[in-house]
C-alpha cells in the first residue's frame, strides 16, 4: 500500500462503510462459534437421531430385553446399561456427528470462509469442542431422565465420570477429525456411521466387556470399551477407572498426532 498516495478526503469522510476493522475478543468469537456449532447439530434431523433417539432406544430396548435373555452382567440391567448408553451418546456426538459435520464443512467451503475471518484455527477448534460439550450435556440430561424412569439408582463418582466424558470426547473427537480430514465428505459420512455401528455392537460401549467373553480382553483397549468401562466404574461403584482413562488418553494422543499430520482445512 502506498501511504503517500492516501486520499485524505476519503479518510475524513464518515460513511456507512467507513473502515473500522477489528476482531471481537477471542472468548466472544469462541462462544459464538460454539453456539453456532451446537445449534446446527441440534437442527439436523439425522444428527439428532444419532445423538438422542438411538441412545434412548438402546437404553429402553436393552433394559427390557435383559428380562428375556441371559447376559453376563453383574448388576441390574439398568445400572449396567445407563452408563453404557451415556458412553454411546458421547461417542455418537464426539465421533460421528463431529466427523460428518466437519467433512461437509470442508466440502462447502465453510472452513475456508472462516479461515479468512478473525476466528483463528484454535478458536474454531475450541468452538467445536464447546459445541460438543453443550450437546453432550443435553444428551446426558435426557438419558439420565429416561434411565431414572426405568429405575436407575446410580452411585456416581463424579471425578471418574467427568474425566471419562472429557477424555472420551477428546479421544473420539481427535479420531473423528482424522477421518474427516483424510476422506471426502460422502466417504466420511459412510465411514463415521459404519464405525459407530460396529463399535456400538461389538465395541463394549453399551455392554460391559465381561459380556464379550475372551474377546472382552481385546475390546477394553478400544476407545469404545475404555469409555464404556470408565463410565460403568464411575456410576456403578463410584470409582475412577484409571486404566480405562489411560487408554482414552492414549487414543486422544494418537488421534491428535494423526489429525495434526493429515488434516487439511480446505
Amino acid at each position: 500500500m502506498n501511504f503517500d498516495k492516501l486520499d485524505h478526503h476519503g479518510l475524513d469522510h464518515r460513511g456507512t462503510f467507513t473502515p473500522r476493522p477489528g476482531a471481537a475478543p477471542l472468548t466472544r468469537q469462541v462462544a459464538a462459534q460454539a453456539a453456532m456449532e451446537s445449534k446446527l447439530m441440534l437442527r439436523n434431523g439425522e444428527q439428532l437421531l444419532l445423538a438422542v433417539v438411538i441412545p434412548v432406544i438402546v437404553l429402553i430396548g436393552g433394559v427390557e430385553g435383559a428380562h428375556h435373555i441371559t447376559l453376563h452382567i453383574a448388576h441390574r440391567a439398568v445400572d449396567e446399561f445407563a452408563p453404557g448408553v451415556l458412553a454411546l451418546a458421547v461417542m455418537s456426538t464426539a465421533f460421528t456427528s463431529l466427523a460428518i459435520a466437519t467433512g461437509f464443512e470442508r466440502r462447502y467451503g465453510v472452513i475456508k470462509r472462516l479461515g479468512s475471518s478473525p476466528l483463528p484455527r484454535s478458536g474454531l477448534l475450541a468452538g467445536k469442542i464447546g459445541g460438543l460439550l453443550f450437546v453432550e450435556a443435553l444428551q446426558i440430561v435426557v438419558i439420565c431422565l429416561v434411565a431414572a424412569v426405568l429405575g436407575w439408582h446410580p452411585h456416581p463418582g463424579y471425578l471418574g465420570a467427568v474425566l471419562a466424558v472429557v477424555l472420551g470426547t477428546a479421544a473420539f473427537a481427535a479420531l473423528g477429525l482424522f477421518v474427516a480430514g483424510v476422506l471426502r465428505a460422502e466417504a466420511t459420512l459412510a465411514a463415521a456411521n459404519l464405525i459407530y455401528l460396529l463399535l456400538m455392537a461389538g465395541g463394549a460401549v453399551v455392554l460391559p466387556t465381561s459380556a464379550y467373553g475372551a474377546f472382552g480382553n481385546v475390546v477394553k483397549w478400544l476407545p469404545s470399551g475404555a469409555l464404556g468401562n470408565a463410565m460403568r466404574s464411575a456410576f456403578i461403584s463410584g470409582s475412577t477407572n484409571w486404566t480405562g482413562l489411560a487408554v482414552l488418553l492414549g487414543w486422544a494422543v494418537l488421534g491428535t498426532v494423526l489429525t495434526a499430520r493429515t488434516f487439511k482445512w480446505e
Partner: protein
Amino acid sequence: MDVRGLVMRYADKVAVDALDLTVERNTITAVLGPNGAGKTTTLETCEGYRKPQSGTVRVLGLDPIAQRRDLLPRIGVMLQGGGAWSGVRAMEMLRHIAKLHADPLDTEMLSDRLGLADCGRTPYRRLSGGQQQRLGLAMAVVGRPEIVFVDEPTAGMDPQARRTTWELLEELRGDGVTVVLTTHYMDEAEHLADRIHIIDKGRMIASGTPLELTRGGKATTIRLVVTRPFPPGAPESLRKALGEKTEVTVLDEISLLVTGPADSSTLAKVSQWCEENDVLPESLTLGQRNLEDVFLQLTGRELLP
C-alpha cells in the same frame, strides 16, 4: 497492496507467472482475464490462503502468511462460491460472521441494502445463486474492512442484482474502502474500476485506467465480416493497403478487426481492398475500441469463449 514477482505452480502447470500488481488505496481495482488466467490464485495469496512459491505479497503493508492474524480482521473476503453451512439461515450466517468482528455493520441494514431481507430465514442451500453471492458479499463487508477482495462477484447474477452489487461496491469506495475484484466481464471492469489489470495465462498483459486501455475511447474499430473465407495472405495485403497507423487482427477465417483511426479514408481503403481481392463484405461495423478488443489484440483470443 503490492504483489512482486509472484509465481504459483500446480503440479506441472504454471498458474501465476512472475506477476507484478499494485493496488492503490481507496480505489476499485479490477483484475480482468478469462477463466484459468490465475486471477483467483493471485487473490488467494493476498488473502493468506496460499503461500507464494516465489515473489512477495504485501497487503496493507503486512505479509498475508506471517502476519495473518493482524491482517485478517482488516480485510473482507468474498469467495467465488460456498462458504456457509447448508442448513444455516441467511441472516443467521451473516450475524455469525458479524459477531467475530469488534465493530460490525448493522446486519439488518446490510441485508436490506443487498435485497436479502426476504430470504433472511431461508436455509443457505435453498437460496438462489444470486442470493448466495449477495450473502457472500455481505459477509465480506460486515466487519468494516479496509480492503475487500471480491472474486467474480456478479457471475450468473440477474441484471437487477448486478446493479445492486455494483452500487454497493461504488459506495464502499466512496466511504474509503479499497476494493479488489476479479472478473471476466469486461463491462463490469469498464463500469466499476478505476484501474484495470488484464491478466492472461498468469501474466499481466496490460494495465491502466479504462480510458487509457481503450485509448481515450477515441480509438475506433472496424469489424469486417465477409461471405467466403479470406484468400491467402489477406491480412498482410490489407495491412499494407491501410498503412502503419492501423492494426489488423484476424478473428477467424471470415472476420477481422481493424484498429486505428476509423475515418472515411480508412473505410474507403477497406472497401477498395475488398474489391481488388474479390472479397464480398457481409458487414462492416464501426465501433469504439472496448476492453474486449484490447484483450483480443493482446492475446489473439476472445475474452469470453
